[in-house]
Symmetry: C2
Subunit: 470 residues, 2 copies
């Protein structure tokens, strides 16, 4: 519970309507989309502008009250779970698209804008914001920036970080800084813009962002290639890239995912194959036609069992939707779905998927794998039951093995979901103790009272396990 | 001069051949490509590997000896001038291309590799490293990363930062960290990769880098459009982008630059026009043809006096070479050439160039302007004489006015050259005191003894001038 003095100061800033602390409100914001994590905040606050946020941060810094900035809470690393209490900060009042600048190809937004709303608004003007996290229908841009969200188009177009060019940020000491600008080139000092992207709300509160846009691709084409084996699909991925083609999306589903998706979506996907690649290319019509033909040829060379090119936009959309439905489909099977995002260099995809299968077998847990094959970003997904403590422990052991394997292959513990609470114990496996120490140095230089989203990124304890040698 | 004890420790690490402190050696490394800055180092050191660098850093940190990492010294912000003495660190022994990975589209290099050598090596494999700083024939990749170098292709392809995906860095405390990986997606902790890019050697020594590559564009076409007025050329730039075309390069030269370039290169450029745009598009043949035709049409609509499309690759190259020769050509005119890189949002180009002309007039100095119109990155270049103290003061006043104007238009004091010593007094104009303080917090958290390239980025004194309101 907040001290009366603190509560009063906060109410003075945002007004009584914008500070919630009823049991129901606290309960609603005690968890996010991540299974198995819950902690009660002391209050929920809804500031109306940057100045209010600045004042809130100053009060919280003085009284050492944690602040957990939260968009729609769709993250999968428990990044917005208020682990150490404090206030959950919502951006429901700061949800405006401030400007779409067609001359400089930028959009300026408040953090509370829903990602898809912004995407739709810029597409109406013939412009394109490529990052497309699966949660985009409900996620906010502020959340995307804090998590450096990825998506299906990462291979060709990059991730959120690649589109953030200017930020307004309230630092833990209450200073408001503006980074970057509507500028393709800016080297005036350290790159605080990218430092804030993906910092998971641990370095400050993002209050405004300017994003780079590009012209919308002229056209798009979708295809599906079926393979008997994982290895064949992996070889096809490598061969497409080695042939100097960078598709807009290059998605992978293993046999078990496919089965579940077809059962859910009923669009006639075959379920007796080893792996599927869903491939989209976008761009000028001639190029798309040529690339898709060439990709089809490569898939056939790599022993694809069948290659199906969508003949209409609707057919393409149905295929893409099937892939996007993977998580929902898997979530139906068991009470708890744990979706991870171990990521490896693209050339190691087949090896990694095979290792995941072996690890699942070893720990006797059920894991399906799908994901962004083009950028090596896999989503091994475990269907389990959080109430079964014994099974959950095996699940955790399995994921620990998966992270270790990813790192062994030159990969990382998280490609797009963030560290949050969930992966904090494994961070040193990727970065080494020196790397984690460097990050702690930075964190505590900015936030000596540890008020910004405490308990995230840095674990109190790391897993007792030999650090993987790189 | 180094203390005998320090010198001995350093010699123990690198061997006597790799520690130079003759007067000639010190003189050679007392300055870089930036006019008007010179300071003698105490020694020059040439480590052979990361471990030696780690040991050197530890000694320097213990004895508080400055380290100035230096590639080829081509920077234009006095970033490698050893302002506070200490040792200049050279990477002549660490100049290998370690790997070109065709499956993952990456190249891994040591910092001392010459940029163009690496570009040529990857192009031989059909791959492409887009950043093309004008100094690429002699600059090193390590230097490019430390300065976050730009180039002519920034508009379409971005800058060095957009291609660095993994680094090995020796931190000021001697810890060696590895950031990132051969990964399109990696959100394991703060983005130290991009934090190090453009940090101008003030946060650590970069000892290895992995860079992202893309497939080499199929073809390229070049054109030249002449305009009677600045405004017309600026309108053409805006209109090209507004028509959703992103050319590979979109370069601008004003009338006075043109005159000097033609006098130097003698390739038949007209000198009686107000401004010239040099435009290149690359990509699939059909798209290039279509884009170039469309761009020509737009230029004509915007009152271009003439539009000339290069019919052969050689003709295209001649045009591009003329633009690349701008600095050399200007440098012939007067003993001292000061090249700046004030940058504005693309839509403000014409306004900015006009303001530069007025500022030059006001201070009675000679300034030609050329640069990367597509990304708003201008190079107002002053031809002067460093021996004429009175004139140099006027030149400095003029550049101060130019920086203030750039910021007023939403721009920055440096688009691609870096802050170094030269622009340090102006940094607060762009970032505000809060922004500079945040950067200092970071710097001194990592480098409390200020051994890494001291005197850069942060000025001892800022210009006594009202901070420009944003």
């Amino acid at each position: 519970m907040l001290r009366a003095e603190v509560k009063e100061k906060l109410i003075q800033i945002v007004g009584p309507k914008n500070l919630l602390d009823s049991q129901e409100s606290l309960l609603v914001y005690s968890y996010d989309a991540t299974p198995n994590y819950q902690a009660m905040p002391d209050a929920v606050i809804k500031p109306r502008n940057t100045q209010e946020i600045q004042e809130i941060v100053k009060v919280c810094n003085e009284f050492k009250v944690p602040i957990v900035p939260r968009g729609s809470g769709t993250n999968l690393c428990a990044g917005t779970c208020p682990l150490e209490g404090g206030i959950v900060m919502l951006f429901t009042h700061m949800n405006k698209i401030l400007e779409i600048d067609e001359e400089n190809l930028t959009v300026t937004v408040q953090p509370g804008v829903i990602t898809l709303d912004m995407i739709n608004a810029v597409e109406e003007k013939g412009l394109f914001y490529p990052p497309d996290p699966s949660s985009m229908k409900i996620s906010t841009i502020g959340g995307n920036i804090n998590e450096n969200s990825g998506g299906l188009r990462g291979l060709k177009y990059g991730v959120t970080r690649d589109y953030v060019i200017a930020l307004e940020v309230v630092l833990p000491n209450g200073d408001v800084i503006r980074t970057g600008g509507k500028l393709a080139k800016d080297v005036a000092g350290y790159d605080f813009t990218r430092l804030m992207v993906g910092a998971e709300g641990t370095l400050g509160v993002i209050t405004e962002a300017t994003l780079k846009l590009i012209p919308i691709p002229e056209t798009k084409k979708t295809m599906l290639a079926l393979f008997d084996s994982l290895e064949a699909s992996g070889a096809a991925v490598s061969s497409i890239i080695a042939n100097k083609i960078i598709p807009a999306t290059l998605e992978f589903m293993d046999q078990s995912t496919l089965e579940v998706v077809e059962d859910f979506a009923k669009i006639g996907l075959p379920t007796d194959v080893g792996a599927v690649l869903l491939i989209e290319q976008d761009g000028p019509r001639e190029v798309v036609e040529r690339d898709i033909e060439k990709i089809a040829e490569i898939c056939r060379e790599q022993q694809a069992k069948s290659v199906q090119i969508a003949q209409t936009a609707e057919e393409g959309l149905a295929l893409a939707t099937a892939r996007r439905a993977a998580l929902s489909a898997l979530a139906r099977k068991k009470p708890t779905t744990i979706l991870e995002d171990a990521t490896v260099p693209r050339s190691k995809i087949a090896e990694m998927v095979k290792a995941i299968d072996e690890i699942a077998e070893k720990h006797q847990v059920e894991i399906c794998t799908f994901g962004h094959a083009g950028d090596g970003n896999l989503h091994p997904t475990c269907m389990t039951d959080a109430r079964n403590q014994e099974e959950i422990e095996r699940v955790e052991e399995a994921f620990a093995d998966i992270f270790a394997k990813a790192i062994e292959l030159g990969g990382t513990i998280t490609g797009e979901h963030g560290v949050g609470v969930m992966k904090a114990p494994y961070l040193a496996w990727k970065l080494g103790e020196e790397g984690v120490n460097a990050m702690k140095t930075l964190k505590f230089a900015f936030d000596p009272n540890n008020i910004m989203n405490p308990g995230k990124v840095f674990a109190k304890e790391t897993k007792k396990r030999v650090v993987v040698q790189r």
